[in-house]
């Protein structure tokens, strides 16, 4: 997905791959909702976990994109910083964990959390929404307030 040579410090990823992964995510979560199937949510959670811990370029969806989709695309690669999509994967993972708690408790939390994760993936895939930009500053502001300034 990146056009830079393989290195331990991956700094950029291909935005097209990020959006493709979001499309697959939205599809998996939509099916999970319609079939009320927590197993699919678990699978999506595993994908999120890989993306959050190892980087979005290592997730199975990205590998699929690089091997199968990207070679067939005419559009050029669109490098973007890795941090926001990686952060988004951990947010997705959080929602999946909430959904699974909901499934265990047979509570509406399952459909709500899965639905919200689906909505986030949908706007990412359809509109290329930069959620990282939105949350990044809010978090920085809050973090500084919680940790007393030197």
């Amino acid at each position: 997905m990146s056009i830079t040579p393989r290195s331990s410090q991956q700094r950029n990823v291909d935005a097209r791959g990020v959006r493709f992964s979001a499309s697959l995510t939205a599809l998996v979560l939509a099916v999970a909702l319609v079939l009320a199937n927590p197993a699919l949510v678990v699978i999506q959670g595993a994908v999120f976990a890989i993306g959050a811990l190892l980087g979005p370029h290592r997730s199975p969806y990205s590998l699929l994109f690089r091997r199968v989709i990207a070679p067939r695309l005419y559009s050029p690669a669109e490098p973007e910083p890795i941090a926001p999509p990686q952060f988004a994967q951990s947010v997705g993972l959080l929602f999946v964990l909430l959904a699974l708690v909901g499934a265990l408790l047979s509570s509406p939390l399952f459909v709500i959390a899965t639905g919200l994760a689906f909505a986030a993936a949908l706007v990412n895939a359809a509109f290329g929404y930069c959620l990282g930009c939105q949350m990044y500053l809010l978090i920085a502001r809050t973090r500084r307030r919680l940790i007393p300034a030197k």
Partner: protein, 149 residues
């Protein structure tokens, strides 16, 4: 294979919600909103930043790292400032100026605060503005400044 009613309803509801929010947000992004009468926010920009204001208009852009729209905003505003000697563009890293961020209630980046010749805030925009919006705003500020003299 049976379908879950609550699942289908949630799916439809979430899709509608997501699309509605995205379309609503898309229209508002980058648009300049008048801020002339906003509460006591007069900032001594030249003292705080040590940068000179523009002769007619100053665009103060708050950016942060890992922000693609910030880059687009920078390109647009820097281009206008370069071509127009009365317009200045100042870019600030939000994280290094959290005091200003809190004073001005800035919640996301890019946020652009637009100042007139005296350094008073006249407008602000969240998200990347289009160049025609920027040029229109500059024109509008010039008109109101010359008519008030």
């Amino acid at each position: 294979m049976s379908l879950s009613t609550s699942g289908v309803l949630t799916l439809v509801g979430m899709t509608a919600l997501a699309l509605a929010l995205a379309m609503f947000d898309r229209r508002r992004r980058g648009r300049f909103r008048s801020a002339r009468h906003s509460s006591a926010e007069y900032v001594e920009w030249q003292n705080r930043l040590g940068r000179h204001l523009g002769q007619d208009v100053t665009f103060v852009q708050f950016s942060s790292a890992f922000c693609a729209p910030c880059r687009a905003t920078r390109l647009t505003l820097a281009d206008v400032a370069e071509r127009d000697p009365g317009v200045a563009h100042i870019e600030i890293d939000a994280e290094s100026h959290l005091d200003l961020v809190r004073e001005l209630n800035i919640l996301s980046t890019p946020t652009t605060i637009v100042l007139d010749a005296k350094g008073a805030t006249v407008a602000r925009s969240v998200g990347a503005p289009r160049k025609d919006q920027v040029l229109l705003l500059v024109q509008g500020i010039r008109n109101s400044q010359s008519s008030s003299q």
